[in-house]
């Protein structure tokens, strides 16, 4: 299982996830996003664009490492990982 943490900003739009410990079965970042969308339909289109790429001002970390493949989200996610989906600092 993978533990997923979200920026609190996303709870504004998906209040059903607030306060929950989110655990999903996934082995890549793309699979994490798919599982997350099953829990909260529509959230994948917040995190990613229509082509499945991370939106420009979104960051994902697997453990301490920022995701490398922002287009295909193929980065592996070992069992027991913590995945953080964050707002990228965009200045101003």
């Amino acid at each position: 299982m993978v533990h997923v943490e979200l920026t609190p900003h996303l709870f504004t739009f998906f209040p059903e996830l607030k306060g929950r410990r989110i655990e999903v079965e996934a082995d890549t970042v793309a699979a994490v996003v798919r599982r997350l969308d099953e829990l909260a339909p529509g959230i994948a289109f917040y995190v990613c664009d229509e082509h499945g790429s991370l939106r420009p001002h979104v960051n994902v970390f697997v453990g301490e490492n920022r995701v490398n493949d922002r287009q295909g989200l193929t980065d592996p996610v070992p069992a027991g990982s913590r995945v953080c989906i964050m707002q990228a600092l965009s200045g101003g």
């Binding site: 996303l10 739009f13 289109f45 917040y46 229509e50 939106r55 707002q87 965009s90």
Partner: protein, 389 residues
């Protein structure tokens, strides 16, 4: 005197606001939803009463939102997505249209720019890059209008092949992604015949369908450009906003980058009706009277190089004769040190009442066709759209 609505919806940089006229005649704005989110356009479907908002989340992309209870609660609507394989020819800003070969670019939703309502069930959404999305089921699903997307003026059907390799649709800096791509900001539906629709594109021009979107043709005859070698070219025009008179739909107006234009033949031909001597030339929005097709209002700005008020004095101009003459309307508007910029969707009218909002967060209302104005909000976020509900 025409009946007026007592409710105005504002799309702003920081949320949706409602402005309501109380029993004492005072207009009061209040936050209605989407706190902190950019709202490009918000309007009420007259057929159902549902409110629709075009959101531009800074981090999370463009989203359609709707409220079925007047704005008390909002939900994400079925989202606008370009079909798989949709792509367009990309022309970088400043590129020589006849020179640099354009590149193919996969279509990604950059901005939801405007919403329009046809007969019951029909909703249109204009986007950047250059998509006209149509719902036939009251907004439960939207589909890209392919004949317009595949129009010969933008290179033909790029789903099937490489098309002509030439596009006459250029870009606008209005996208939220920083990318330069064409956008549909005006959708005017003929009340006599909903299969007859005009759209205006920055930067391409005006297109018309008379068969419900199965085919489209240019409607740019008479428009003149200041910025291309051939000022009468068929394409490359920069309408800033287009509107028609609901009771006289052959009377169509546009505030264009290169002046104000009027058509009395349903946009078949246009006539430039600017009066630079009166300050009426550059600007973004235009509103047309619901009954009298020769009456329109503009909020002029000073040239495309400055894009502020003319000499720091804010005014609205009205023509009652199809643009033959214009009268400045200044009563109640600031006449010194005012630098309000009014965006293309930020002027609207309902009966004798008009309202417009500015990027400096000021909202002005007139209840006498523009003869006098009151500021009903001075500290709002930058205002993107103003629509009577």
């Amino acid at each position: 005197m025409q009946a007026s609505s007592n409710r105005i919806l504002l799309g702003t940089r920081k949320g949706t606001f409602a402005v309501e006229r109380g029993s004492g005649g005072q207009w009061r704005p209040s936050l209605l939803g989407h706190a902190g989110v950019g709202v490009n356009f918000v309007a009420r479907d007259p057929n159902t009463g549902t409110l629709w908002a075009a959101l531009g989340h800074g981090h999370w992309g463009a989203k359609l939102s709707r409220s079925r209870n007047g704005g008390t609660t909002w939900e994400d609507a079925p989202q606008i997505v370009y079909p798989e394989g949709a792509r367009y020819l990309d022309v970088p800003p400043g590129a020589d249209p006849g020179g640099q070969k354009p590149a193919f670019k996969p279509a990604k939703l950059q901005k939801l720019w405007c919403i329009a309502f046809g007969p019951p069930g029909q909703i249109y959404v204009g986007t950047i890059p250059g998509g006209l999305f149509v719902s036939a089921d009251g907004g439960d699903s939207f589909a890209l209008n392919l004949p317009l997307w595949n129009h010969e003026s933008r290179g033909g059907d790029l789903f099937q092949g490489e098309g002509s390799g030439v596009t006459h649709w250029f870009g606008t800096p209005a996208s939220e992604s920083g990318e330069f791509a064409p956008g549909i900001h005006s959708i005017a539906i003929d009340p006599r015949n909903p299969d007859h629709v005009l759209v205006a594109v920055s930067t391409a021009g005006v297109l018309e369908t008379v068969d419900g979107g199965k085919s489209w043709r240019s409607r740019n005859r008479g428009l003149v450009m200041d910025y291309l070698p051939d000022p009468n070219a068929e394409w490359g025009h920069d309408p800033h906003y287009l509107a028609l008179c609901p009771a006289q739909p052959d009377h169509v107006w546009q505030q264009n980058h290169c002046g104000v234009f009027f058509s009395s033949d349903g946009a078949a031909t246009w006539k430039k009706v600017s009066q630079p001597g009166e300050g009426v030339h550059f600007g973004f929005p235009i509103a047309v009277d619901a009954e009298r097709g020769k009456t329109a209002w503009v909020v002029p700005g000073k040239s495309d190089m400055q894009r502020t008020t003319v000499d720091g004095r804010l005014f609205v101009a009205r023509s009652d004769d199809g643009g033959e003459s214009w009268r400045p309307l200044r009563n109640g508007l600031p006449q010194q040190d005012a630098y309000d910029v009014v965006y293309r969707h930020a002027l609207d009218n309902s009966g004798d009442t008009l309202a417009f909002g500015s990027t400096t967060g000021n909202l002005y209302v007139s209840e006498d066709r523009g003869e006098s104005w009151q500021a009903v909000g001075n500290h709002l976020p930058p205002i993107y759209s103003v629509r009577f509900a």
